[in-house]
């Protein structure tokens, strides 16, 4: 008779390389046609009037407003921070975004600009977006972002190792980055577009969750296929099932390609009807986006005034 229970449910599945592989490959398969059909069906929900007003504000509050360009400057980052804190200068009832997401060398600028606003600073790290660097470089990258004050770290997994089947290597790397994060929240980017199959996305989600991710994130926004309703739905199923198995709640962040309010509302329906209302909070669901915010603001203005105002009535930052 066993005298001690494992500290965490599922702790034994990461005990060895073989056990981890067995576990990940034992997860139920994903039927691509069925998954996409379900995502499309949920996309036909009709969100009107009060529900729309609620969802637009919720979506704004869930945005990780992002700039990840080689051309980023402190000025650009400060402007984005100002926009994130008060998205609609003409309407103070518009909520702030959840976070500003930048490269590590811009994290300090963002931290300074956002001090006292309640808007968080997220920094990508681990040789984003490719992640093709030595582990020591990735850990140093993470440590610098944390030292600069980033409260959230968006890491990328080693897709090469994952696709080659070296799951333990990916697992250990996430563990190491998690440790380097200290108290910062860790979002693990799976880069679904490179994992290619839904089966792989489900396995990678579980791998990241087992390794201590606080969030699983669809993509970097830097490859051809980024967040889709189907791959986000699949990740929502994964966090729902992980919560049922372990009691630990993990967040989900679709990123890249979500540009319209209409799309954002569809994602919120996915959250509501898959993971459930417990996930309908910026604490557990984020949008990685830049242009989405302005469309949400325009829809919000339309809803309150009854008229479309046009792009000149939202700020370009």
């Amino acid at each position: 008779m066993p005298t001690t229970a494992p500290a965490l449910p599922l702790a034994d599945v990461t005990a060895t390389d073989a056990a981890l592989r067995r576990f990940l490959h034992g997860l139920p398969g994903v039927d691509a046609v069925g998954l996409e059909a379900r995502a499309a069906a949920l996309g036909t929900r009709s969100i009107k009037t009060t529900a729309k007003a609620f969802a637009l504000d919720l979506a704004i509050s869930m945005i990780d407003l992002t700039t990840l360009e080689g051309a980023d400057t402190p000025g650009k980052v400060r402007a984005l921070c100002a926009k994130g804190v008060r998205p609609d200068p003409a309407d103070r009832s518009a909520p702030s975004v959840a976070a500003i997401c930048v490269y590590p060398d811009m994290a300090a600028v963002a931290v300074e600009a956002l001090r006292g606003t309640g808007v968080s600073v997220a920094s990508v790290a681990t040789a984003f977006p490719a992640g093709r660097a030595a582990r020591s470089v990735k850990l140093a990258d993470t440590a610098e972002a944390v030292a600069a004050g980033a409260a959230e770290i968006d890491m990328v997994i080693d897709r090469g190792a994952f696709l080659a089947g070296r799951y333990m290597e990916v697992f250990e790397e996430i563990l190491a980055v998690k440790e380097a994060c200290g108290r910062a929240h860790l979002k693990v980017i799976l880069e679904n577009g490179e994992l290619a199959t839904y089966d792989a996305i489900r396995r990678a989600s579980w791998l990241a969750m087992l390794a201590g991710a606080d969030f699983v994130k669809t993509s970097t926004g830097k490859v051809a296929v980024n967040a889709t309703p189907a791959n986000t739905l699949l990740m929502l199923q994964a966090v729902r099932d992980f919560h049922a198995a372990t009691g630990r709640r993990i967040g989900v962040k679709p990123a890249g390609g979500i540009r319209t309010a209409k799309d954002a509302l569809k994602y919120l329906v996915l959250v509501n009807e898959t993971a459930g209302e417990d996930w309908l909070s910026p604490r557990w669901f984020r949008f990685g986006a830049s242009s989405l915010l302005n469309d949400l603001l325009m829809q919000r203005q339309k809803l309150s005034t009854g008229r479309y105002s046009g792009p000149d009535y939202v700020t370009v930052d």
Binding site: V30, D31, R38, R45, S46
Partner: protein
């Protein structure tokens, strides 16, 4: 946070329902010969939608005569010319699909999401598909110059009023027949609106005739000596009566009857999608589907997991106003059908199966039945054998593929079946052994005009859809 969807209803005014409707005979709307009428109601509110002429034997006679008169010219048209009419009908259906979807949901009770996204697109697709066959009949495999049969008498059910009309009328016309169609008593309105579309398309008078009414009109139609072909979709009991009445006559007959389909979930299935398939298998169209996956056969090793997920999913189903775009399950079509569903559900409890439904507020007026599942069902229970035709799922378990096949086939019916497994070879192994006209793998309730549909055993005979569907309307 609670994300409540605000009501998002389609306006009933889009349906543009006239206060009274006549029979459509010889290109004209007219009253019944004896002036009788009946009312059709909205099953979600029990409000009267319209008064409709109650056709009797005399009206059937007139309709068959009109169809007979139109037959020589219609059948003599080159196939390409008949195709033009069918393409035109298909396009008008698409153009008027919103109106038709609202009308269908009002009269039938099905959610607008389904009439809009499933019924109407399929109706148009059937006309497009068979329009394509009209000038290619010599290449269909039925000889150099296959001939039409003459006048087709068609009787359709209330579960997919306009779609069943399309399944019947499109191949009949493509092959050169003329038709008299009797829609179900509780759902006559879309058929009569289709009559208006026939006029809009300039279809020659008499090619399509619609006689509304009750079983009397249906019986008169199938027994009419001027009818050359009878096509019936409905209950096995009525189908048996028709087969008896037609025995020994020259009339050609196809029957699409009941079902008690098994939806079989193996332990290596894609479980999230299987749960969706179970839900769409039995709760699509309130379970008013002859090929509904009303028996869930789940492998014992995953039964608990599947049932937990299924219950969670069922708790999210939105039951209510059929015209609300966010409704998943609408109203039961009639008081009679509701009584039948209740009777069988009570029998299930009385025989010892365990009943479960999610908490859901049903509207005060209209005919409603909460989505329901029964566990602990055995093959001997009535709910495992009889067609319920409602949102009621019976859950049985199995241990091996052989046992799954034996249980799935242990029914007098044989219309459809579903197999859920990630293992391709098992899908083929199972499909070889299942006695069902349609076997879906890793999906359920998928329809396409190119695919033949029909049953084994007491589910009827003949095929509708695809190239096979032409045979029923050709003299071969």
């Amino acid at each position: 946070m609670k994300f409540e969807y605000a009501p998002a209803p389609e306006s009933p005014a889009l349906a543009g329902i006239a206060p009274s409707h006549g029979l459509f005979i010889g290109g004209e709307f007219r009253e019944a010969a004896d002036g009788k009428v009946f009312t059709t109601i909205s099953p979600s509110s029990e409000e009267v939608l319209s008064e409709v002429a109650r056709g009797g034997p005399e009206d059937v006679d007139a309709a068959v005569a009109a169809a007979r008169a139109a037959f020589p010219a219609w059948s003599a048209l080159p196939g390409a010319e008949r195709a033009k009419y069918l393409f035109r009908v298909a396009r008008i259906v698409q153009e008027r699909s919103r109106e038709l979807a609202v009308l269908e949901s009002l009269d039938n009770g099905k959610p607008i999401r389904e009439s809009r996204d499933v019924d109407l697109p399929l109706v148009a697709a059937h006309f497009f598909y068979y329009a394509g066959w009209a000038d290619k009949l010599p290449h269909a495999g039925y000889g150099q110059d296959p001939r039409p049969l003459g006048v087709a008498g068609q009787v359709i059910p209330w579960n997919f009023p306009l779609l069943m009309l399309a399944w019947k009328i499109a191949p009949a016309l493509a092959c050169g027949n003329t038709v008299v169609l009797k829609p179900a008593e509780t759902t006559p309105l879309t058929a009569l609106r289709f009559a208006d579309i026939c006029r809009q398309a300039g279809l020659p008078p008499g090619v399509v005739n619609i006689v509304t009414g009750d079983g009397e009109a249906g019986a008169a139609l199938v027994a009419h000596p001027g009818v050359d072909k009878v096509a019936f979709t409905g209950s096995t009991e009525v189908g048996r009566g028709i087969a008896r009445a037609l025995a020994g006559t020259r009339k050609k007959l196809t029957l699409e009857l009941g079902g008690k389909a098994a939806n079989i979930v193996f332990d290596d299935a894609p479980l999230d999608q299987a749960v969706e398939g179970i839900v769409s298998g039995i709760f699509f169209n309130q379970g008013h589907v002859c090929c509904a996956g009303s028996r869930l056969l789940v492998q014992e090793s995953v039964a608990d997991e599947v049932l937990d997920a299924l219950k969670r999913r069922m708790a999210g189903l939105r039951v209510g106003d059929p015209l609300d775009k966010n409704t998943d399950i609408g109203a039961i079509n009639s008081a009679g059908q509701l009584a039948r569903i209740r009777e069988l559900a009570e029998a299930g409890e009385a025989e010892g199966a365990e009943r479960w439904s999610p908490a859901c507020d049903l509207p005060g007026t209209g005919f409603w039945f909460a989505p329901t599942l029964f566990t602990g069902v055995s093959q001997a229970h009535r709910i495992a054998r009889e067609e319920i035709f409602g949102p009621v799922l019976s859950v049985l378990t199995f241990r091996t593929p052989d046992e799954a096949v034996a249980k799935a086939n242990n029914t007098p019916y044989g219309l459809s079946a579903g197999i859920w497994t990630e293992k391709g070879s098992r899908i083929l192994w199972m499909a070889d052994r299942l006695r069902a006209g349609v076997v879906w793998s890793n999906t359920f309730n998928k329809f396409d005009p190119t695919s033949p549909f029909g049953g084994f055993g007491e589910s009827g005979y003949g095929r509708e859809g695809g190239r096979h569907g032409l045979e029923a309307y050709l003299d071969v």
